[in-house]
């Protein structure tokens, strides 16, 4: 499965900010870690802010803080702010959708979509942090 760039940046941003909800980070600081432009990241952070996941902090130093819940926010919650997860709605594929073949294909793709959504909706930011920490420990051992 491929995620759009904005979705990936959003996931990285909320993960980085939610490590310590008291810590303020600028778009530049986050962008620096993941090698992405501040311009792209700022747009992503703006969308995350409108969703209540991050909050911008004014004043000297500025930046963003995490304002959501790591135990209740899932990867699906973040991704769906930027893209639809799953196949297009029935009827949007033109004449092929009205054929038996089109219906059969839609059934198979629908099965994949349901699995994808269930997987993404079962992984919270808290669980992602655990996965990340485990990966870091593995890297140190190697």
């Amino acid at each position: 499965m491929k995620l759009q760039a904005a979705s990936r940046l959003a996931i990285y941003a909320v993960l980085e900010l939610s490590i310590d909800p008291e810590r303020q980070l600028s778009a530049a600081e986050i962008g620096d870690k993941f090698g992405v432009s501040t311009h792209h990241l700022s747009k992503v952070l703006h969308t995350l802010g409108r969703a209540g996941l991050v909050r911008s902090v004014r004043g000297a130093g500025g930046g963003y803080v995490f304002s959501g819940s790591t135990k209740r926010t899932t990867l699906l919650n973040v991704i769906e702010l930027f893209e639809a997860v799953g196949s297009p709605e029935p009827g949007t594929d033109g004449r092929e959708a009205d054929t038996a073949e089109g219906t059969a294909l839609a059934t198979v793709l629908g099965e994949i979509d349901e699995l994808t959504r269930a997987t993404l909706n079962s992984i919270t930011l808290s669980t992602m942090h655990k996965l990340t920490r485990h990966g870091e420990r593995q890297d140190r051992r190697d």
Partner: protein
Amino acid sequence: MVPDYHIANPKQLEQSKAMTQTPAPVAIRKAEKGDLDQIIALDEHITGINKHDYIHDLFERYGARRPEQRFFYVASPLEEPGGRVTGFVIGEVRAWEFGSEPCGWVFAISVDPDAREDGIGAALLDRISESFVQVGVQRLRTMTSRNNHLLMSFFRSRGMMAGPYLQLEKDLT
């Protein structure tokens, strides 16, 4: 004789172990016949279905028989270790089903909704996992409805990831 089961994927086992180091805030013990009324009530509270006969049968099969391979644990508050049941877990070692090497299956785990997010579920899962390891099993498996986001999230938070099997089904009518 306890069979000697091999580790199929050591890396995934390490990952799961690393994510499950949590102290148990509750008392975990083997289920007893006197717990069944509370277990039935707890299950009915969560599912809306009274499964009196089913749970009594489960206790006969998993609480009283083949104790080296079947496990039925309950959780109680630390201050009342023999009293109020706040959760339970049931599982067993299954070998060679669907071509799978022996592994520990958890097929029921419940925590009182009023006592959630206190580490009870984690403690129950850790306890049954220890039992599986003690009898030589190195892999934990379970199955959940993909619509049960709460349970899926819980298992994932304990280091479980999708396994190599897919549950398939069809209507027979």
